[in-house]
Symmetry: C2
Subunit: 219 residues, 2 copies
């Protein structure tokens, strides 16, 4: 049993170091957006395989533990949640890469006198990711639920971005429609990133509430 | 052991009936796109909870089987794959709903003399979903790999849609930029739908190749 607990701790460490790496990438992409930093964008694209490899490792480790220790109830639910959260973290990595690619693409356009400030939206998405991982570690329902609320705020900013960019196109601020569409799509990638953080939080809620239901049956 | 086999068969039936329902929705959304059928779009939005409920049921059933029968090796890998594929099917349902919502939104715009024909793209996405589910049932590596190739074709059409719609906006075919952006976003929802079919196929490849590696070790 002690051995099993050590294995669970190892899994927690693994998913959290993947989480930390993904958080780092989200933080970097914020800088990329702010500074139009093409060199950093290219580095992010180049290093995506690190996240992919860690995802494979986490899943393999979870499968090994399930096969070896045959956990039930809470422990099994936790390991399945980790497998799903793992998947969402990897897809957050993909969204970061998508944003990096759009910034590289935008940088090839001639200078367009229109910028969209993504900082508030990206800050919220980053906070959502951090809080969703915290809620996983601390099994904290409040944190998880706060993530779900923040997702509504990110959606609202996405809709605002849509309206503003649409209006800018209609007003002909630039003839470079490709540039404007890239701006629009960046906001959607940030939204999807936030969606994956929401999935993580929902998984934590489900894990905690599932426990409550189970306890309820036992009482 | 016979009991366990019956449980596995039950899971297969459950994931396939979810797959069949999602396929039906994808087929319906093709019609919605072709006929701008707002009534059917609203019905699809209204019925999404059916898919959500089936997803929860499949995951709960998988967890129950793992906890009760403590499968290892191939059977465990299969059940974990089902949990992940289940998740992708539910998200395909979400993409179908997103497309339905865009069609409802478009229908409120004044008539714009510009249409984009999604039929080829949607046909390919539908074929990908069908083939990915076939590859799961038959554990067929060839089918799964064909899905991955089709994904490249869908991506190519998405890029074509982007170029064509961008050019149409630049040429001022309509002042209704919102309408044009909705057209663009529909193509991206179809692409994401195809991405989830690709995830399913990749999961099947991983499952089959994982087996091969395991057999290799045993020999």
């Amino acid at each position: 049993m002690k051995h099993f607990q050590r294995e669970l701790d190892k899994i927690k460490k693994m998913i959290l170091s993947l989480g930390a790496l993904v958080e780092k990438r989200v933080h970097q992409i914020k800088q990329v957006l702010e500074d139009r930093d093409v060199a950093m964008a290219n580095e992010i694209i180049h290093l995506d395989h690190e996240i992919d490899q860690m995802e494979v490792d986490v899943e393999e480790e979870c499968l090994k533990i399930i096969a070896l220790h045959q956990p039930v109830a809470t422990d099994l639910r936790f390991l399945i949640a980790v497998i799903k959260i793992n998947n969402d973290l990897e897809r957050i990595g993909d969204q970061v890469v998508n944003i990096a690619q759009r910034v590289v693409s935008i940088s090839k356009h001639p200078v367009v006198p229109y910028r969209f400030d993504y900082s508030v939206m990206a800050d919220k998405a980053e906070a959502m990711l951090r809080m969703s991982l915290d809620s996983l570690v601390n099994q904290d329902l409040d944190d998880a639920i706060r993530v779900l609320h923040l997702d509504d705020e990110v959606d609202a900013i996405k809709n605002e971005a849509y309206d503003r960019i649409k209006t800018a196109i209609a007003n002909g601020v630039t003839e470079d429609i490709g540039y404007m569409i890239n701006l629009l799509l960046i906001s959607r990638h940030i939204e999807r990133l936030a969606d994956h953080a929401t999935n993580i939080a929902e998984e934590v809620v489900y894990m905690i509430e599932g426990e409550i239901v189970r306890h309820g049956r036992l009482d």
